[in-house]
């Protein structure tokens, strides 16, 4: 093993593994989606998928969730990250507490918020106790699509603020504090400092956070399952259904391809929209 070949030996296992367990399955699932049951290539899986009554709802729900959760999440995480920059003592403790949800599975998060939103849950107990309502409010019931949506949005924001927060806090840490000071001397108040200095210089981190969060939103699964069972269809849930319950791998693959395409599309949009022009980086 020469000196020159050493790095290749070191990355080979990881590289090969990634090819075998990422690129290869990726091509497999793409092929499978386009493979007709009788052999040969066709679009029949996609036709079955689109033809099913739940597809439209699942697509709409997933996109709606993503469109709601991602912006709200960013606002919450940005606010918390900004808050942390101004805290003098106890910053570490706050950071530790606020990143506890990092260790919580999305299934567990769904169960946690189930305990809050279900018919006999803590929210209703509190509402009754405070005298706001006379009888428990139905949130996750079959006809409560909007309330269920809100519940899912809250649970989703709750569980993954930590992930976005970590990215943003480390991004803010990279910005030398001179820039904020210079802005201040030249007349910028808190809001101007945030919008004209912090946010632009956070672009790379915002990009990473948005991509990550959007992909997580498109693949939302266990939170929805825990909170609403099958009452609120989403793309990932339908994928699971077709694969497991309906035992139809090819159609599940079609669903998977839809999610994959949306993810890549969204990633490309962010990469383009938030790219930093040459020479303008930190």
């Amino acid at each position: 093993m020469t000196n020159k070949s050493l790095p290749y030996w070191l990355i080979a296992p990881a590289a090969l593994f990634t090819v075998a367990l990422f690129l290869y399955p990726l091509s497999l699932v793409t092929l499978e989606a386009f493979t007709a049951k009788s052999g040969g290539y066709s679009l029949e899986n996609f036709q079955t998928m689109v033809g099913h009554w739940k597809f439209g709802t699942a697509l709409k729900n997933t996109l709606m969730l993503t469109a709601l959760v991602v912006p709200l999440q960013m606002v919450v995480a940005l606010s918390l990250a900004q808050l942390l920059t101004r805290v003098k003592s106890g910053r570490d403790t706050l950071l530790y507490v606020w990143t506890i949800p990092l260790g919580i599975s999305d299934l567990a998060a769904g169960i946690i918020w189930l305990g809050i939103f279900e018919q006999t849950g803590f929210l209703n107990s509190a509402l009754i106790g405070l005298g706001v309502v006379d009888a428990p409010v139905s949130i996750l019931g079959f006809n409560d699509t909007f309330a269920t949506l809100v519940a899912i949005v809250l649970a989703e924001i709750w569980r993954s603020t930590a992930i976005v927060l970590v990215i943003l806090v480390s991004g803010i840490g990279l910005i030398p504090k001179e820039y904020a000071e210079a802005a201040e001397v030249f007349g910028a108040g808190a809001w101007a400092k945030f919008t004209k200095v912090t946010l632009p210089l956070l672009r790379p981190s915002l990009q990473t956070a948005l991509i990550l969060r959007s992909i997580l939103a498109l693949e939302v699964f266990a939170v929805v399952a825990a909170l609403s069972g099958t009452k609120f269809p989403v793309l990932m849930g339908e994928t699971y259904n077709w694969q497991f319950a309906l035992q139809d791998g090819p159609v599940a693959a079609a669903f998977a391809l839809v999610i994959l395409t949306l993810s890549v599309g969204v990633t490309l949009v962010y990469l383009r929209w938030l790219r930093v022009p040459r020479g303008a980086g930190l």
Partner: protein
């Protein structure tokens, strides 16, 4: 009228006293330099004036208006930072325009002002570049232009030249001097480089351990330093301090030379700058242990008896190593100090 009055400014960081009761008055349009080694408090004082730190005690007034209770953004000052702090995500134009945009000035005025200032600092060709595409010197000019554009009452500069290489520093120093003189702005300039201070300042405030030791014109500080710290800080190589004892009241002997000095002292330190002596038939004894031909002059150093004694002689002096010589001082340039370091007036 943008005169500055600083009264009793005191600032501690935990148990560390950075500034102790600073009092300073800067006249309108004056160029005042805060000079000192790192840790003396000069940057802290500047940041307190800017509003980036708050003093524990004391007041700061600009143009008769008390500003130390205002937020930095409301003080209408401008600052050039040591690392320039040129916003990386904005073009040169937008950087220079920043202060004006914060004041919500209309676009025509912003454009006109930015172009005018860019011409002053020779940046007209680079207005649509980003800072990552600029050299250090160019970035520094952007920082300067940004400060000039807002036409501040006071210009604050925190070691703006220290990150430039020596040649560039020299050029920028000259440019700075002419630009700032033309703009007629009261300026407070922080540096540790005494050559910069001497060259740029109307007055220099020498700082040491949180206190202003002396505040005077450059020449005054050079000629009549108030203590050995200031005397040793200004001038390179530094002033020599020779122990002198009185053989008679008013007559002192130092390094073999007898000369008149202040009355009423038994022991004093005699201060003489290396450049204020010449080789002669009589004078201070000196053994040329080290001879360094520096080009314009020759530095001769005597390292006997643990007291380094230096003379900067004309380059025509021919000396050999170890040679014993006499150095005749310019008597008008001799300064006297108590053994504790305070200057003493010589009634000669």
């Amino acid at each position: 009228m943008a005169n500055i009055a600083i009264q009793n400014v005191t600032k501690s960081f935990g148990s560390y006293d950075a500034l102790k009761g600073i009092g300073l008055a800067v006249a309108d349009q004056e160029f005042l330099v805060l000079l000192g080694a790192s840790g003396c408090g000069k940057s802290t004082l500047l940041r307190i004036i800017a509003g980036l730190e708050t003093a524990d005690i004391g007041e700061v007034h600009v143009g008769g208006e008390r500003i130390d209770q205002l937020q930095a953004k409301d003080r209408r000052l401008a600052m050039v930072f040591q690392n320039y702090a040129v916003f990386p995500h904005l073009t040169v134009f937008e950087n220079i325009a920043f202060g004006l945009r914060m004041q919500k000035r209309p676009q025509e005025i912003v454009s006109a002002k930015v172009n005018q200032v860019a011409r002053m600092v020779h940046l007209e060709a680079l207005l649509d570049r980003y800072s990552g595409q600029l050299s250090g010197g160019q970035r520094q000019r952007v920082a300067l232009a940004r400060a000039l554009a807002v036409e501040p009452r006071v210009m604050l500069m925190d070691e703006p030249l220290s990150n430039l290489d020596a040649l560039l520093r020299l050029e920028m120093r000259a440019e700075l001097k002419s630009i700032l003189a033309a703009s007629k702005t009261t300026t407070i300039y922080v540096t540790h480089d005494q050559v910069e201070a001497m060259s740029l300042a109307d007055r220099i405030a020498v700082m040491h351990q949180g206190v202003i030791v002396q505040c005077d014109t450059p020449l005054e500080i050079y000629r009549n330093p108030v203590n050995t710290f200031v005397a040793g800080f200004i001038g390179n190589p530094p002033m020599n301090f020779i122990p002198a004892h009185a053989v008679q009241d008013g007559i002192f002997e130092a390094r073999g030379l007898r000369l008149q000095g202040p009355l009423g002292h038994r022991e004093l330190l005699l201060g003489i700058r290396p450049e204020d002596m010449q080789v002669g038939d009589a004078g201070f004894t000196c053994q040329a242990d080290l001879i360094e031909p520096l080009g314009p002059n020759v530095l001769v150093t005597d390292v006997q008896d643990s007291a380094v004694f230096r003379a900067a002689l004309s380059s025509t002096a021919t000396l050999s190593k170890g040679q014993s010589i006499f150095l005749q001082p310019d008597l008008e340039r001799v300064r006297w100090f108590t053994p504790e370091g305070q200057s003493v007036k010589s009634e000669s």
